[in-house]
């Protein structure tokens, strides 16, 4: 077994390096991903080692990045695009949702779109406007796109490679507050399926469900709850489209209770979708309504208020208490 203990940024870097080595048709493109190595240093040294035809510092234009990636894919390449921050994906929104997502369908399968769009997303870093958002639902709502988000360095390492291997477009959401904490990466393992959710902590009273940076918060909440005599099971959704309901349903069937948490606004969010499905498929196992904890339905606030906006362990525990009170 080869284990390395690295932060997620380094795990992604290693995963991208591996993908570039394994397949000469893979190329990376984005703003500042060359000599600088990206503003989060995820592409550090890749430009040096693979050159500027494999690692492209593009002009400053997101629609251009994704639109030309579509053309490159048509020419047989496998582009991996970096969008610098969550809030700057929208200039490319048309290319992603109207073009990329529908290309395979319009060609009736004659053509596939093996493109990965990496987006650092989410709060907890105290940044200015447009640098802390959670746009996942826009993409998960768009047929034709796959949407995934790792929560650990190990997942990041493997999921980025699986996403690049996928022949479908994958929106790859990187929880930026998780870029720096270290975790173990098992280099000798084989990749877990990209679209599988996973139970990351066992428990018997309440199922806690979430993705990305929220998984850490859920684990914190579960640890506190344990001290208070409540046993929480935690499920990392990992893939937001498609969602793998198996582990979520299994867990809810055994606990009878579920709380979903996300940073994104609640209205029309992933939590609503998962709650509705759980209600449809595990109704008779439920002992309480599925509860949701989320960011408020407001624009992501200025940094000084992000602590109020983002669900923390206390807000999750409040929902756990409400669930147990039924």
């Amino acid at each position: 077994m080869t284990i390395e203990t690295v932060p997620m940024s380094k795990a992604l870097n290693a995963g991208l390096r591996k993908a570039l080595e394994d397949d000469p048709r893979v190329l990376l493109m984005g703003e500042d991903i060359g000599p600088l190595g990206g503003v989060f240093r995820v592409t550090e040294h890749l430009h040096r080692d693979f050159g500027s035809q494999r690692v492209l510092d593009t002009p400053l234009a997101e629609s251009g990045i994704v639109g030309t990636a579509i053309g490159l894919a048509m020419a047989g390449f496998r582009p991996v695009c970096e969008i610098q921050f969550d809030g700057f994906v929208f200039p490319a929104f048309d290319q992603i949702t109207s073009q990329l997502a529908k290309m395979t369908n319009r060609h009736e399968g004659a053509l596939s779109m093996p493109i990965v769009i990496r987006i650092p997303y989410g709060g907890h870093i105290g940044a200015v406007e447009h640098h802390q958002e959670s746009p996942e639902t826009y993409f998960a709502h768009t047929p034709g796109l796959r949407v995934v988000s790792p929560s650990t360095p190990n997942d990041a390492y493997w999921m980025i490679q699986e996403a690049i291997r996928s022949n479908d477009p994958v929106i790859f959401l990187e929880p930026k507050s998780r870029y720096w904490p270290k975790g173990e990466v098992d280099l000798s393992a084989s990749a877990a399926p990209l679209h599988a959710s996973r139970i990351v902590r066992r428990g018997s009273d309440v199922t806690l469900v979430g993705h990305g940076a929220m998984v850490t918060t859920l684990l914190q909440a579960a640890a506190i709850a344990e001290g208070e005599g409540t046993s929480c099971e935690v499920v990392d959704v990992r893939s937001l489209s498609p969602v793998d309901y198996g582990p979520i349903l299994d867990s809810v069937r055994s606990t009878g209770r579920m709380v979903h948490a996300q940073e994104a606004p609640g209205f029309n969010g992933l939590g609503g979708e998962i709650a509705a499905t759980v209600m449809e498929r595990a109704f008779y196992s439920l002992e309480a309504p599925v509860l949701r904890v989320s960011g408020f339905d407001t624009p992501f606030p200025p940094a000084k208020l992000e602590g109020v906006y983002l669900p923390d362990a206390d807000r999750i525990l409040e929902a756990v208490d409400r669930s147990l009170a039924y």
Partner: protein, 376 residues
């Protein structure tokens, strides 16, 4: 046309000598018309804003701000164009136009409060004290479309092109060499030209979009792009405050008089980091930085004023004013208190919205449960 063949309006040489380039000839009357006091004011503003900028950078380093985008090196382009705008003009900055906003009346602490994470806005553009200065825009290039639309509105309302330059309104929009690659900027130029909107597109080419050199954004001098839209465009030495002032004033007056949109490429240099999160040593050499330091806009203007015989006291006064402004800014910044949590819910909509009201009420109750000590 390559970069070196493109005419450049320059009035002051890097060493401060008054030596207008051929392209500058037509603008000289505007410079001759400036009084000593006005010339000194240009200098004063550049020095004060640099002190403010340095203070803000320090405040960020000390954890008082989330981020700071320094304007060091770009003072001349900004001060010249800001003084060229008339009172009635509306300005659309990007996020580095600290000199422009200050000259129009925006209190620098309002910018710092954005960068501190207290607000997404900072000031009210409709308050006359802020000189029709719109708030900063962080999504690159977006504001160029807003400026084009605003200019179209001026045309529709007959507020421009009446022949009275003292009343006719125009718009200045600021953006960078990197932003020039955005589709929005292209569309803004198309709209402004089609509707003959009185918009001055003021591009500060500071040579770098974070780590990406301007050569990645364009193969031709950026000033030459305007022609494709039918927008008369001029390239100025952005480190020469007199050139920046004169060309901006002339272009703006053309625009306001019914001449339609105009564009300026101010050739300048970002002397510091892109923002306080950036490390320029990763992508550019110190010889490049050194060579631009020798073209510093402030040293150049100072040498020019000294050459004209300005009294030493003028420079001493400016130093004192700058130091005071920086000190005052520090004191007021560290005294800024965090906003109340209601800020998050207020003004999401202009009319009541039940979802927001419900969530605001829920949060109040939830927080109260802690304050009463009832919760964990």
């Amino acid at each position: 046309m390559t970069s070196t063949e493109t005419p450049l309006v320059r009035v002051l040489e890097a060493d401060g000598r008054y030596a207008p380039s051929a392209a500058a000839e037509q603008y000289l009357p505007l410079i001759d018309a400036l009084s000593d006091a006005e010339l000194e004011q240009f200098y004063r503003d550049m020095v004060v804003i640099r002190a403010i900028d340095t203070q803000a950078t320090n405040l960020q380093r000390q954890g008082q701000l989330a981020l700071w985008p320094p304007s060091r090196g770009q003072e001349a382009a900004q001060v010249g164009s800001a003084y060229a705008a008339r009172r009635q003009d509306t300005l659309f900055p990007s996020y580095r136009e600290h000199a422009v906003t200050r000259i129009r009346g925006v209190d620098p602490v309002d910018i710092l409060s954005v960068m501190r994470g207290n607000t997404h806005g900072g000031w009210n553009p409709l308050d006359p004290k802020n000189g029709n200065t719109r708030i900063y825009t962080l999504v690159l290039g977006s504001q160029t479309l807003h400026a084009a639309g605003f200019g179209m509105g001026l045309v529709f309302d007959g507020k421009t092109g009446t022949g009275d330059v003292e009343r006719d309104e125009a718009v200045v929009v600021y953006y960078g060499d990197g932003a020039s690659s955005q589709g929005d900027v292209h569309e803004a130029m198309v709209f402004a030209a089609s509707y003959n909107a009185p918009v001055l597109f003021f591009l500060q080419n500071n040579h770098w979009a974070i780590s990406v050199p301007v050569e990645t954004q364009t193969k031709v001098p950026l000033v030459t792009r305007g022609a494709g839209y039918g927008i008369p465009s001029v390239r100025v030495d952005g480190n020469d405050v007199l050139a920046s002032y004169a060309v901006s004033r002339a272009q703006l007056d053309e625009a306001r008089s019914g001449g339609g949109p105009r564009a300026i490429e101010a050739v300048t240099y970002r002397m510091g980091a892109h923002t306080t999160s950036d490390d320029p040593t990763k992508y550019r050499g110190s010889d490049e930085e050194q060579s631009w330091a020798q073209r510093d806009p402030i040293a150049r203007m100072r040498a020019f004023l000294e050459g004209r015989g300005a009294a030493a006291s003028v420079f001493d006064d400016v130093e004192t004013e700058a130091a005071d402004a920086a000190e005052d800014l520090r004191a007021r910044t560290v005294a800024l208190t965090a906003p109340g949590r209601e800020l998050m819910f207020d003004h999401v909509y202009s009319e009541p919205h039940p979802l927001i009201d419900e969530q605001k009420a829920w949060l109040e109750q939830y927080e109260a449960s802690f304050e009463g000590g009832a919760n964990r």
